[in-house]
């Protein structure tokens, strides 16, 4: 168990590669006393499991939105969390709708149980994981900034586990260089997928070292509860230093591959969406500036930070790369 009564995430084995990560002192991320105690956490995990297994009733229906007005938690830069209401009412999820306010309604009742994720490709031991298997990985809370390519952002307390642990289970082969993710294809339940304009299903990809980075999370929950359908239940990726569209939702396939995968957005507009999509105020989208953003809940604009404020931890992944060419 990563979380225990007295200590806090991240208790990461300080691998040489991630010395930078260790520079964030845990107390900077979340005040210690506010962390879920082990017992509370077990409760969360139990509730998560139970509600996910109950499935169709809708996990979020089980309990009302938590009281967040007084939630004093902050991200590692000292900014407050966005509210549960904000996070679950404003979603970019084209499988349901291109209207961010309609997604939550259309996603109500979306079946997330049973759920299986096939992990394969260039691995020694391919395997199909049921959601209950995934919940057996130690779940931890991580407060991350999410920066949308549309220049808005939120601070979100996810629950999940590092993708690297799942990858370790299937043992990537030496030839594997990239990880390809795929969203469920279920046009009957996802009205946006009936629009043939988009090459469904949604596909995203990471370089293997990005996928194995300690910050890269497979999220199963949000605000201490099971992930809501509109946020990508039951399993989504969270890569906090990349634009939000990289963080693929409702994952059913994860493949280790040799060639760089073509994401849905790369297929739609190759000159506008690159593979890397690292948050970078210096590199404008071909048609929009990315220099500033609006934090949801704030009125003004704030400057966008390189790698969304995670440069210390992840800039090393891109040493020697031209970030203008590899946008």
């Amino acid at each position: 168990m990563i979380l225990s009564g007295s200590d806090t995430w991240p208790r990461v084995a300080p691998l040489a590669k991630e010395r930078a990560l260790a520079q964030i002192h845990p107390s900077e991320i979340t005040p210690e006393h506010l962390y879920l105690s082990r017992r509370q956490f077990m409760g969360v995990a139990g509730a998560l499991g139970a509600s996910l297994l109950l499935g169709a009733c809708g996990p979020q229906a089980a309990s009302p939105a938590p009281e967040v007005a007084a939630d004093p938690r902050r991200d590692d830069l000292g900014d407050p969390l966005n509210s549960f209401e904000q996070i679950t009412s404003y979603n970019n999820y084209y499988e349901f709708s291109t209207d961010k306010q309609r997604v939550a309604r259309l996603a109500q009742g979306f079946q997330t149980s049973p759920w299986e994720v096939a992990v394969g490709g260039l691995v020694r031991s391919p395997r199909v994981f049921g959601l209950e298997d995934l919940l057996r990985f130690d779940q931890e809370e991580r407060i991350y900034r999410l920066r949308c390519v549309e220049a808005w952002s939120m601070v979100i307390p996810w629950i999940g586990f590092p993708l690297r642990r799942l990858l370790a289970e299937v043992e990537p082969l030496a030839a594997a260089r990239y990880v390809r993710f795929e969203t469920v294809l279920r046009p009957a339940a996802m009205p946006g997928q009936r629009d043939r304009f988009y090459p469904w299903p949604y596909v995203e990809g990471l370089r293997l070292d990005e996928a194995q980075h300690e910050l890269t999370l497979l999220a199963t929950g949000l605000y201490g509860k099971a992930l809501t359908p509109q946020n990508g239940a039951p399993l989504r990726l969270v890569v906090p230093w990349k634009y939000g569209f990289k963080s693929i939702k409702a994952i059913v396939r994860i493949d280790l591959v040799e060639q760089m995968p073509t994401s849905l957005w790369m297929a739609m507009a190759p000159n506008e969406y690159g593979f890397y999509a690292n948050v970078n105020p210096e590199v404008a989208h071909p048609r929009w500036s990315q220099a500033t953003e609006r934090r949801i809940g704030e009125v003004g604009r704030r400057p966008t930070l390189p790698f969304n404020g995670y440069a210390e931890q992840v800039a090393g992944l891109y040493t020697g790369m031209d970030l203008r060419a590899n946008y």
Binding site: N82, E85, Q86, S89, Y90, T98, K100, Q101, V149, E150, W152, F197, M268, A284, R287, W288, S289, A291, T292, R294, I296, G297, V299, G300, R301
Partner: protein, 219 residues
């Protein structure tokens, strides 16, 4: 709005004008209602921006559809709606610009300058506003009289303003399909005004009759 003094020839035109006022004020009313009731999204500035922009575009297209409707279907009464539709469109353009400059960018000259230099859609949108401005200012009967035949020429700027508005949308949209559809509609509306097309339409509508005074364009 300049139309009040105009006498509407028939009651039908009167009702139509009333309908235009209602239709054109509906987006504003809904916006105020949603704002008052707290029904905007958690990104209200974006809502205000998108909704005022969409209303401006729709009304401008409707205004540009009046002349073709007359040409195609002989709906003469539609011609009287061009002005109110155009002016209401300009109202939403102004609201759109205000939301952008004041609410979104806090009138910060540095930020706005950066937005203009890095976002070409901002340039296209602002250029569209600049073209519409003299049209709105010269929409009174007095201005029409004073400008004489120049009024008509001046008001052809609306074609360029509409093209820039569609370009503005195309350049800002994540997905090109919807702006492309508006662009296609605009092309059709403009093509129907070409003198050759007009003549043929007039002949097709009234085969036996004398050649009407086609070719003269009405903005």
């Amino acid at each position: 709005m300049g139309h009040t003094a105009e006498h509407t020839g028939t009651t039908r035109t009167g009702w139509l004008r009333l309908a235009v006022h209602g239709l054109a004020l509906l987006p504003l009313g809904l916006l105020l209602l949603d704002t008052g009731l707290g029904r905007l999204s958690v990104n209200p500035i974006q809502d205000l921006t998108l909704r005022t922009g969409k209303a401006a575009l729709v009304l401008l297209m409707l205004s540009l559809a009046c002349t073709p409707l007359n040409l195609l279907l002989g709906w003469k009464w539609a011609l009287a709606l061009r002005k109110p539709l155009g002016l209401y469109s300009f109202l939403y353009v102004c609201l759109h610009l205000l939301v952008f400059a004041v609410a979104d960018y806090g009138l910060d000259p540095g930020l706005i300058g950066q937005a203009i230099s890095e976002k070409r859609y901002v340039v296209a949108g602002f250029a569209s506003f600049l073209l519409l401005l003299p049209l709105a200012l010269s929409s009174t009967r007095a201005a029409m009289r004073r400008l004489g035949r120049w009024w008509r020429r001046l008001h052809r700027l609306v074609y360029a303003a509409a093209a820039l508005a569609v370009l503005h949308y195309l350049w800002l949209a994540k997905v090109w399909r919807e702006p492309a559809l508006w662009g296609a509609l605009l092309l059709v509306l403009l093509a129907l005004r070409l003198p050759g097309v007009r003549r043929r339409l007039a002949r097709w509508r009234s085969p036996g009759e004398r050649r009407p005074a086609a070719g003269r364009s009405q903005p």
